[in-house]
Amino acid sequence: MDIWNYLEIAAWVISAIIAGIMLLDMIKVDTTYDNELLTSSREGELELTQERHEL
């Protein structure tokens, strides 16, 4: 076992933690919010709201 072996293990652990955080957050968001709201983005609409703010 030298430093590289420890780095390997550290990389595995960090990967697992990040994957865990991301999946948990995704599950939390998906169960907290309504799917209709989450998928409510529409192409071109941002342009319109942005224009409105600037006027």
Partner: protein, 464 residues
């Protein structure tokens, strides 16, 4: 119409509009600069040193055409998904579906190639420090997951991060060039192969080299993926893209010079990390450390930008129901297309862990190439359906249709270059896109709302 949507707007989620031109430059150059750190050198392998340089400049010309055409269309069709949204408005839904796939494939494969390179580089360094048999997998997985998480958390942080590390990687190339020029290298620059073995494969080699010559610049067109997140897309996108091309032509030429001078071309032609190898040859340990960090940063920046771009394209297709609408979701807090980001992680991993680098690179290049071919007729159709006096464009490129014609000729040459040596890959890719197209046309398209796909406030196209 604007009133109705303005009233609804607050209840809807959209991507955040927070980016400036610097971020656009960082997104474009960040994705591409890695091409200088790895991959371009296969063009030297395919045709020799001269061919590598010719390919570098010819590909530079090709991408100048791409940038000109793209700037005009993007400054007018500013929507996430970039060329995908352009295709949808100008050519039609099936083309848009294909272009969306080109984008996702090109960027996901590039992301995989970056992760492979990081693993390979760590293995090289571990080997130099006396550790053999490093397991690259955890590092590859960690890279992809960490960057995906950064993207998940928000676009501003991701691209600000990209700006810093891209600038560093660019400066590293210039420092290496200057250091070598001023004699920091223990081994002399040697260009004797240019005269002794100018074209080991003859003129055919120059065309063959074009295949990987694209790699110097591949992905610069990704800047327009950020259209919905840029504060003033009509100005920032053309500016960021053009500045990016100039940066890259300079970096590419310097890279060719230093690497060809310091590395025998036979080795260079199949090297995994050419700039780092050049630093190794100099025998200067600070240069080695600098180029090691540069390579890590360049690959990271690229993978980061790729995750950003691929997920935007996937998200846009989901939003239009070209793909299951589930993917069209925006994170309520971070305002990112989070489901697309998460979904593309395992796909990138499949390729990063299971396929050889040059195959992955070829897959990415081919998808890019199909996309450039699309741009040629897309441009012609854009000018025909909406002549200059019908809609206001943010930027009008000069000499139309010359850039489109030049681009088409160069694309044809590049298809031939890929055909030399990677013909089966090309056919396999085309089969994939043909089957996917038929699947879309005869099955998937039934779930798409027809009129809703056209979202730009333009008049009816001429001739329809």
């Amino acid at each position: 119409m604007s009133n109705a949507s303005a009233v609804q707007a607050p209840e809807r989620l959209g991507l955040l509009r927070v980016l400036g031109p610097g971020h656009v430059w960082a997104l474009g150059v960040g994705i591409v600069l890695v091409g200088e750190y790895m991959g371009w050198n296969f063009s030297v392998g395919k045709g020799g040193m001269i061919a590598g340089l010719v390919a570098c400049w010819v590909a530079g010309l090709l991408y100048t055409c791409v940038a000109m055409i793209d700037s005009e269309v993007t400054s007018t069709v500013a929507a996430a998904g970039g060329q995908y949204a352009q295709a949808k408005h100008i050519v039609g839904p099936l083309m848009a579906f294909n272009v969306g796939l080109f984008l996702v494939m090109a960027y996901t494969m590039l992301e995989a190639a970056n992760a492979i390179t990081i693993g390979f580089l760590l293995d090289t360094v571990a080997g130099m420090l006396g550790h053999t048999g490093l397991n690259q997998q955890p590092f590859i997985i960690m890279t992809i997951l960490a960057l995906a998480y950064l993207n998940y958390r928000g676009v501003l942080a991701s691209l600000s991060f990209n700006l810093v590390i891209t600038a560093f990687a660019f400066v590293a190339i210039i420092v290496l060039f200057l250091a070598v020029q001023f004699g920091a290298s223990a081994v002399p620059l040697d260009f004797s192969a240019v005269t002794n073995e100018p074209l080991p494969y003859g003129w055919l080699g120059i065309i063959a080299a074009l295949h990987f010559g694209l790699w110097y610049y591949l992905g610069i067109e990704g800047t327009c993926q950020a259209a919905e997140e840029v504060r003033s897309p009509a100005r920032s996108l053309p500016f960021g893209t053009m500045a990016g091309i100039m940066t890259l032509v300079i970096a590419a030429t310097l890279t060719w010079y230093v690497c060809s001078g310091l590395i025998p071309w036979e080795y260079l032609g199949s090297a995994g990390t050419p700039l780092f190898d050049a630093a190794r040859v100099t025998g200067n340990s600070s240069l080695m450390v600098l180029l090691f960090i540069g390579t890590v940063f360049a690959t990271t920046a690229s993978a980061n930008g790729c995750i950003n771009d691929a997920s935007r394209a996937w998200f846009s297709m989901g939003r239009d129901r070209y793909l299951p609408s589930w993917f069209g979701a925006v994170h309520p807090r971070y305002r990112t297309p989070y489901r697309s980001i998460v979904f593309l992680i395992p796909i990138a991993l499949i390729f990063a862990l299971g396929a050889p680098l040059d195959q992955v690179v070829t897959f990415s290049i081919l998808s890019g190439l199909l996309g450039y071919t699309f741009m040629t007729f897309n441009m012609v159709m854009f000018r025909k359906k909406w002549p200059l006096d019908t809609i206001k464009r943010g930027y009008v490129h000069p000499w139309h249709p010359l850039p489109a014609v030049v681009l088409l000729v160069l694309c044809a040459a590049t298809y031939f270059a890929v055909f030399l040596g990677y013909g089966t890959q090309l056919i396999a890719m085309l089969c994939f896109y043909i089957i996917a197209s038929l699947w879309f046309h005869f099955w998937r398209y039934r779930f798409v709302k027809r009129g809703d796909q056209f979202t730009m406030p333009w008049p009816r196209p001429q001739g329809y």
